[in-house]
């Protein structure tokens, strides 16, 4: 394992651990956050706020001070379009239906359950359909 892959693996462990600790790997917990008119559980908002805070501090005080932060030039900033809006709507409906977004669904594979495997496989099929339609293979 070279350095890049070791760091990727370690960051993956950290990410998966964070999702499991905050119970975002449990679709019912996520749906309890989305269910604002029912027995609302605001936990997910705390997960997002704290992860945004850490990332914001890092970007502002460490990463953006470096000259070679090339990742910022690769991403189109501040342009929102039809694809962004429709994509977010479709994802939102999928997220609400099950309570899984991509990260937690992968991390939840560790608790081997057929429903998680169904979700991840159909998510990959969804990705492939997008690749096929937009010829981005």
């Amino acid at each position: 394992m070279n350095r890049i892959n070791f760091i990727s693996f370690s960051c993956g462990i950290l990410f998966g651990l964070g999702l499991a600790v905050s119970e975002m790997t449990n679709p019912m917990k996520v749906k309890a956050f989305l269910d604002i008119t029912g027995k609302w559980d605001p936990s997910l908002a705390f997960v997002m706020t704290s992860s945004i805070a850490v990332t914001y501090i890092f970007l502002k005080y460490i990463y953006l001070k470096r000259k070679n932060s090339k990742i910022f030039t690769e991403i189109k900033l501040n342009v929102f379009d039809f694809k962004l809006v429709v994509g977010a709507i479709i994802f939102g409906v999928g997220w609400g239906l099950v309570g899984f977004c991509p990260g937690p669904s992968v991390a939840a594979l560790s608790d081997i359950q057929i429903n998680t495997i169904y979700f991840v496989i159909s998510m990959i099929v969804g990705i492939l359909i997008h690749r096929f339609l937009y010829k981005k293979l």
Binding site: I36, A88, W95, D111, I127, L128, I129
Partner: protein, 138 residues
């Protein structure tokens, strides 16, 4: 709000944030999970291995926690057909909208990207709407 767990939510969020920062700092890669997965299905063979290591790391990270906390569980309220439909929409939607909860919701918002803020509000709104319809109209 008897299921509210602010402490573990904040600890988990900090770990996720640290993961994003460390990966960006050392590897110049974004831990937006839909793009980490999406990149596996493109024809650029030199850019695949780190993604596989990251994803297996995620599974291992969650496994470590599950091993020590038997109360941490993965539970569903949907039947397999709904789950298949949800996966399909999640896969397609995150690729079309180029991001999910991590890429837009955490990293994008931390960067004050208007695109990401718009996308996050939209998928949050439609997620809530979907749960509302599912739980109140069916």
């Amino acid at each position: 709000m008897d299921n509210f767990t602010p402490f573990s939510a904040i600890v988990g969020g900090v770990l996720i944030g640290l993961s994003i920062c460390i990966l960006l700092f050392f590897n110049h890669k974004l831990a937006g999970i839909s793009s980490v997965i999406g990149g596996l299905f493109k024809f650029n063979f030199d850019d695949k291995l780190w993604r596989i290591f990251f994803l297996f790391g995620m599974i291992l990270g969650a496994l470590i926690w599950f091993e020590f906390n038997e109360s941490s569980i993965v539970t569903f309220d949907s039947n397999p057909w709904i789950i298949l439909a949800g996966g399909l929409l999640t896969g397609f939607g995150t690729q079309l909208g180029s991001g999910c909860t991590s890429g837009h919701g955490v990293y994008g918002i931390a960067k004050f990207s208007i695109r990401s803020i718009v996308a996050t509000f939209i998928f949050l709104f439609f997620g809530m709407l979907t749960v509302f319809i599912q739980r109140n109209l069916f």
